[in-house]
Symmetry: C2
Subunit: 332 residues, 2 copies
DNA sequence: TTGAAAGCGCTAACAC
DNA sequence: GTGTTAGCGCTTTCAA
């Protein structure tokens, strides 16, 4: 592998001139430039990023810590983020914490050791030490998908999302409503449910039934319990799309029609939702905006204090086939 | 940030001794070791990986180039690979080529510039220059998900997978069969279809209908065309699960029951398949094995010639709800 | 065992 | 503009 030295020698110029040419900060005379370029081509020379990183004290790389890259919501986020970052000339380290606080922590410190220019983290679970660690480092850290008190973050307005879901159901005429509430990512889910019940209340409706459990398919599959109640709900709100998919399966399996017998609405807008039959109504998170803002905050760490640099992204209601006006229930 | 120099000074030893202690290659006397560790703790010293990389000429990092990380099959693969690599002390760069040959190429050369210790690539499309570039570099490159002539690769035995699907349909009693054939990833798909038709032929059955198109939902949604034929197939083979999902949607939408009216089988085993109603029968790729082998080949580049180091992974038939014996068709 | 010293390949003063 | 030079922080001979 040729070095800058080889190029300089071959071009008959000083090593410094080659560096100047490469970084075109300091101008280089046209004829020398030509000779340098020629030598570069001849050798197939490429600058060694390891050396450059050591010298410049920056690596043009950032780490992305996610709980599980095979979760489509995170994968989509990773895609958007990686594109933005790459377009700005920075590479992304994929760090899958597997929902494990120890692994997450190890990834974080490893990224610091590697002199990553920044870190984006989607952390999950109360066991995470990242908020503490992030506060101690000078490396820019952006918390994605959920806000962290006093630190830089980008998250959807979950409370608003909850109200959107409620208002949608209300406007359709539902008054007997159930909710499937995950308890994994505490703050986010609480906000969703908070917004949901508040908006319901504002419409004079109380949330009739609530089922708690971990935020996954299994929780959704308990939807059938709700339908076996003496007065089953006419609509069900699931705190995310995965839970909604679970509900969709169990409801259809047990012969309930969606939305004729019961309306179903989720949260997130994962791709699978729109492929279902009927397609799932949901509160869509704006993944592009989430990713773009995170990249922006990382790339341009402004002088503003951390708490002033948290972005809140507006969600949007997607009315698809799984929600409709309630059927008359006189016969039941 | 403290350097190795600071630690040496504080511990009253030479810089070299600290390095020896850190890498415990060369032994260090116990008392010195203790003093060094103490200084390390006091400073919160961490070795600078940029400097180490420059000196050691290796970065403990590899690049993973994928066409689209939001594709669940690739995301799953990325997860497995990242875990294996991380457990071996290697970080993974996520490089999303967005199905773009130019972007893919740029990622590849960038990884080379960064002195990545290896590169795993899932490339897509005939436009890819990676096989050529990979042949020219000394950096280990592993092609994942599809074999490349003369280079190191790990891929599922697609031909076998095709025969598995065919035998399954045959054993169920199907004789009138259609196929939805994607034409994106040429070699893989050709092998799947090749195995499928060969096994069918071995059972005395000819593939009755074939629809070609790009490997996506839209192709699947043409399944209905097959059902409108005078003698519609009793079973449909889709060359991947995404196509199968498209078929599933359109078939159910148009009132065809699965598997009563028509059996449906896919390829890959993406998670969504098992969540459908009925759950999708499919030829499952062994994603763990694919990822593990790729990591293995990268971590331990043996002396064997490239073509002798390509792994072929055995797929497995998953009989789920979407396939069953054909209904008697006398009435039609 | 330990320490001194020579770089890894590059950038960024600095003097000319 | 151009060349010289001093490192970035670390590893690794080499002698002692």
């Amino acid at each position: 592998m040729a070095t800058i030295k080889d190029v300089a020698k071959a071009a008959g110029v000083s090593l410094g001139s080659v560096s100047h040419y490469l970084n075109n900060q300091v101008p280089v005379s046209p004829d020398k430039a030509a000779r340098i370029q020629q030598a570069i081509d001849a050798f197939g020379y490429r600058v060694d990023q390891s050396a450059r990183s050591l010298r410049r004290r920056q690596t043009q790389s950032v780490g992305l810590i996610v709980p599980d890259i095979s979760n489509p919501f995170y994968a989509e986020l990773a895609r958007v983020l990686e594109h933005r970052l790459w377009d700005a000339g920075v590479q992304t380290f994929l760090c899958d914490s597997a929902h494990d606080a120890k692994r997450e922590r190890a990834h974080f410190t490893n990224l610091l050791d590697r002199q990553a220019d920044g870190i984006v983290v989607i952390y999950e679970g109360k066991a995470s030490e990242l908020p503490k660690l992030a506060a101690e480092t000078s490396t820019p850290v952006v918390f994605l998908d959920r806000p962290v008190e006093g630190l830089v973050s980008v998250a959807t307005d979950n409370y608003l999302g909850g109200t959107l879901a409620a208002r949608h159901l209300l406007s359709l005429g539902h008054t007997l409503i159930g909710a499937l509430v995950g308890d994994g990512e505490v703050a986010n889910i609480r906000a969703r449910v908070g917004g949901f019940t508040a908006a319901l209340a504002a419409g004079g409706v109380a949330l009739a039934y609530t089922l708690h459990g971990s935020q996954n398919l299994a929780l959704g599959e308990r939807a059938e319990e709700l339908m076996r109640l003496p007065e089953p709900p006419t609509a069900i709100f699931a705190t995310n799309d995965i839970v909604a998919v679970g509900a969709w399966r169990t409801l259809l399996t047990h012969g309930f029609r969606i939305p004729e017998d019961v309306s179903l609405i989720g949260f997130d807008n994962i791709e699978m939702g729109r492929l279902l039959l009927p397609p799932l109504s949901t509160v869509a998170q704006d993944i592009s905006a989430l990713g773009a803002h995170a990249a922006e905050l990382l790339l341009n760490p402004s002088e503003l204090p951390a708490h002033a640099r948290s972005a809140v992204i507006t969600p949007q209601l997607l009315h698809r086939g799984s929600t409709a006006a309630p059927r008359e229930r006189s016969a039941m």
